[in-house]
Amino acid sequence: MCLAVPGKIVSMTQDGSAVADMLGARREVSLRLVPDAALGDYVLVHAGFAIQVIDPQEAAETIALMRELDELVEEELPGAAGDRA
């Protein structure tokens, strides 16, 4: 538990809900759990609710960190390149 997918808020309504776009599949979601969510934000969508705003900065930093550590692979683990399928 639980299945939540990232969606981009593409429109907002007066009553605390929004339309989230998940790679082109669009669904109404309630923003009751994330009242500060804004148009254009990415949110995690679960059971028709946005449960968190996704932080793009964190996303970028995590990937950058992993790619940096990546460069250490060849030094740390000789022969690791052999594992590349």
């Binding site: 538990m1 939540a4 449960i51 968190q52 996704i54 990546d70 692979v73 390149a81």
Partner: protein, 371 residues
């Protein structure tokens, strides 16, 4: 999957978390770090069970690294009696049951919601509890009962939905709630002398709500590390690597490896809604037995939306399926394929226990993916 021309590119590149090159490197790093050691990691989230199966990770992990599935499937840990109660309510004339797809095929003592639907009861699948509300509004002649299971990820949505019903004064709507809390299950596993777990892959979306504090006890009382983990291949592999290093170095900690989806403090708004609607009570978990302060009950103030109080039904005597070892599977004591029923008497087509029928149960995932 290869992308075919689609809508405008997203500003966040989520595909990076599926990057095959990054995944391969992480696998290599894990293999290098584990070497010949024997390490047991457990995840406690049905979605992790499915993801690990779907991504085929066990086929590329080092031999000594075991990825175990714990009591993270809320459907699997729901006690038979709770399912039997939902079925008893489904049989009442005029009742429409609305349920997540997850619950449909789970066997109770003698039936299931799917079997009840086949027998002519009004059982409908919804994606969101708000869809159940909509049914209640559109069909005032029906008593709509939403069957709720789930952990901390789902509970705030259920709470919000109940408050919505109260605000609209919907007389023909109620919920049957068997929601539970994750930390008590973690504690039961950590405390279990029959299982040796060296570290936990912690549920990403539960943590979105709870934050990291509820897991501290794993380090403080048991010296066990935990990594809050997302659901993409790179997320899971990165967490496994982090855990392996903490285990080998003897530096247990609770690490947030899903920073884009989890704040250290979680989602306080969501928790407040949960708190407003639900109170914590003891609950019976399949496989783990009675765990105190592990379940949620609708508060007295909202009792009129509690289907358990609204419908006075006779619930049939609980029967546990003979030979079913779901309890031991849920505790990580045995692997699915060592249950004597696995693959013979108990298959996805004819499941005996919930671990096989639930789409993210350990046995179902194991049978489906064979990893």
């Amino acid at each position: 999957m290869s992308a075919v021309s689609g809508p405008q590119a997203a500003a966040i590149d989520f595909s990076a978390f599926r990057d095959p090159g990054l995944a391969r490197d992480l696998i290599a790093r894990i293999r290098g770090a584990v070497g010949n050691r024997s390490i047991n990691l457990m995840e406690v989230c049905g979605t992790h069970t499915m993801s690990i199966g779907r991504f085929g990770f066990r086929s590329v992990m080092p031999a000594g690294l075991r990825l175990l599935s714990g009591p993270g499937c809320p459907v699997c840990v729901t006690a038979n009696r709770d399912i039997d109660r939902a079925i008893a309510i489904a049989r009442i004339e005029g009742v429409t049951i609305a349920t997540f797809g997850d619950m449909m095929r789970v066997p109770g003592s003698t039936s299931s919601l799917a079997a009840e639907k086949a027998a002519g009861r009004d059982v409908r699948i919804v994606y969101s509890p708000l869809d159940a509300l909509r049914i209640a509004e559109d069909e005032p002649g029906r008593q709509v009962v939403f069957v709720s299971v789930g952990f901390e990820t789902t509970t705030p949505a259920i709470a919000a939905c109940l408050l919505d019903a109260a605000e609209r004064n919907l007389a023909n709507f109620s919920m049957l709630c068997a929601n539970k809390l994750t930390p008590p299950a973690l504690r039961a596993i950590a405390d279990d002398p029959q299982t040796r777990i060296d570290g936990f892959i912690l549920p990403g979306h539960v943590s979105t709500i709870t934050g990291l504090a509820p897991y501290r006890f794993l380090v403080d009382e048991f010296g066990l590390p935990g990594a809050v983990t997302g659901f993409e291949p790179v997320d899971i592999l990165a967490s496994i690597e982090l855990l392996v290093r903490m285990i080998i170095d003897g530096t247990p900690d609770i690490v947030n490896a899903y920073r884009r989806g989890v704040n250290a403090d979680g989602n306080p708004t969501a928790r407040a809604l949960t708190e407003q609607v639900f109170e914590t009570v003891g609950a019976t978990w399949r496989g783990l037995g009675e765990l105190c302060a592990s379940g949620l009950r609708i508060r007295e103030e909202y009792a009129c939306y509690d289907a358990q109080r609204r419908f006075d039904v006779h619930v049939e005597p609980t029967q546990e399926p003979r030979g079913c070892r779901c309890g031991d599977v849920l505790r990580g004591r045995i692997a699915p394929d060592t249950c004597p029923l696995f693959g013979h008497a108990c298959t996805p087509e004819h499941p005996v226990g919930p671990c096989m029928v639930s789409s993210e149960g350990s046995c179902a995932a194991y049978h489906r993916y064979r990893v």
